[in-house]
């Protein structure tokens, strides 16, 4: 469709993913506070030295945190919603990637051009971003393209994989999903760091939307249309 900034499948999968991601983030934090300690290797518990621990109280009384109180325990519904949102996110992601390949969305809109990847072009882009200077182009710039590719093809697959690696049943059928990371506790620790990276992406994404015009960007992602004059504003 000429004039559409975002195709319908991009808009629909974007908003489903948004809802899932927020649900996964909130419930992930709730699950995390039941044991805010991290380990490396196959096993680790309250009697083991942690790799590191977060300086926060916990929602379970038997975890040593240094705090004299215990937070409300929300682990039950948090786990249920975490896995339900994960299912929806994974199915939506599969749909998005399939349609992205079929419609050549990745090739057309996300794969950066060779010229855009020269050190000179990239450093100019980085300088523009650091100065929060709105981009003059109507398509994604090279930094955006690289970031979206990183999120879609590296961070999301990795967070799904490390999530699955924590499942004892998946580990039984596909042991390499766990051993590839050095153990179930390593997978949990990596899951945490990839989630931090995804959260950082979300924050930068939101800042950039505000910098480039919140209303026009929201209109573009909801209706697919954006007024040209707003684009360059």
């Amino acid at each position: 469709m000429a004039g559409a900034r975002h195709s319908a499948f991009v808009r629909i999968t974007h908003w489903i993913t948004t809802v899932c991601f927020v649900a996964l983030l909130v419930t992930g934090v709730e699950i995390l506070i039941s044991h805010p300690r991290f380990y490396w290797g196959e096993a680790g518990n309250a009697l083991t030295a942690p790799l590191f621990k977060l300086p926060i109280p916990a929602s379970r009384s038997l975890v040593p945190t240094g705090y004299g109180y215990v937070l409300p325990d929300q682990n039950g519904w948090s786990r249920a919603l975490h896995f339900e949102a994960a299912w929806l996110a994974v199915l939506t992601g599969l749909l998005y990637v399939s349609l992205g390949l079929v419609t050549r969305h990745f090739r057309k809109n996300l794969l950066p051009g060779r010229d855009d990847l020269s050190p000179r072009a990239l450093s100019a882009q980085i300088a523009n971003h650091l100065r929060l200077k709105p981009a003059a182009d109507t398509t994604y710039n090279a930094l955006q393209r690289l970031t979206y590719l990183l999120v879609v093809f590296c961070l999301f697959p990795l967070v799904i994989w490390t999530g699955l690696a924590m499942s004892p049943a998946i580990a039984s059928a596909f042991p390499f999903t766990v051993t590839a990371f050095g153990g179930q506790q390593s997978a949990r620790t990596i899951h945490f760091f990839v989630s931090i990276a995804l959260f950082a992406f979300l924050m930068v994404h939101l800042v950039m939307i505000c910098v480039t015009g919140f209303r026009s960007r929201m209109r573009a992602m909801i209706t697919g249309r954006a007024r040209p004059q707003m684009e360059n504003a």
Partner: protein, 252 residues
């Protein structure tokens, strides 16, 4: 809305009814092949059902990872103290000589086993990972009799679908389907790391289910009930976990 033409509306209607029919067919197939968990209702039911169905299709016969002796955790975390009530203490003082494991329900011969009888059955030792839903874990050697052997001794009836198992702490009870009940690694454990199963880890008997999270491995086991209908137990959600907001199937 001007863009929503009649043709689009009809197409959408047909799409929705085709989708609905498809879901209906999928649901009846899933029921026939035992892919619906007892806690399939409510807001999180679809997620629980997807997980259980996917796991039953992918991992029904898979074997939990077994580790080498040098991977056994030096400090296995017991997660709480053993029961403090007089009944348990009395049994503990007597070396659990009077501990009984009652097996009833859809079996040819309901039987009550002593610890010594369970220990006289062929034993199995395995070094597996126990992961708690909180996020921590440990690896230990577990020694016990496969649940499948005890079920064979009592003669499980062919229509059996689940095994319900109950702790001496009667608020803690769980159930598993026959795929897990007959799985060779599902053990009634009475030993750990070469010795008797410590009280903190569920002694004298703990059901170990290494393909699911720790809360399915019920401690201080006193009763097994073989059944074809989980609705008769508690609130009908399969075990005490869904009643407290946790998944019945915890292989995740």
């Amino acid at each position: 809305m001007s863009t929503l033409s009649r043709r689009k509306l009809i197409a959408a209607g047909l799409g929705v009814s085709a989708g609905g029919t498809g879901l209906g067919v999928a649901a009846s197939l899933a029921r026939r092949y035992g892919l619906i968990p007892p806690d399939h209702g409510g807001l999180y039911g679809p997620g629980e059902t997807m997980t259980y169905a996917a796991q039953r299709l992918l991992t029904r016969h898979s074997m939990a990872r077994e580790f080498s002796r040098n991977q056994i955790s030096k400090s296995p975390f017991p997660n709480g103290d053993p029961p403090q009530d007089v009944d348990y203490k009395r049994l503990q003082t007597g070396g659990f000589a009077d501990w009984r494991l009652d097996v009833s329900g859809m079996v040819a011969e309901p039987t009550s086993f002593s610890l010594a009888e369970l220990k006289s059955f062929p034993s199995r030792s395995q070094i597996t990972h126990l992961a708690c839903e909180e996020g921590w874990s440990f690896i230990a050697e577990w020694i016990g009799v496969p649940l499948s052997h005890v079920l064979k001794v009592v003669g499980t009836l062919p229509q059996a679908k689940y095994v319900v198992y109950v702790s001496i702490q009667t608020y803690w009870w769980e159930s598993i389907d026959m795929a897990d009940a007959l799985h060779p690694q599902t053990l009634l454990t009475y030993g750990m790391n070469g010795g008797d199963l410590p009280a903190g880890h569920g002694g004298p008997i703990r059901l170990r289910l290494p393909r699911q999270l720790g809360y399915k491995s019920v401690k201080y086991l006193t009763r097994l009930i073989v059944t074809d209908d989980l609705k008769k137990f508690g609130k009908g959600l399969g075990s005490s976990s869904p009643e407290g907001g946790y998944a019945w199937y915890a292989g995740i």
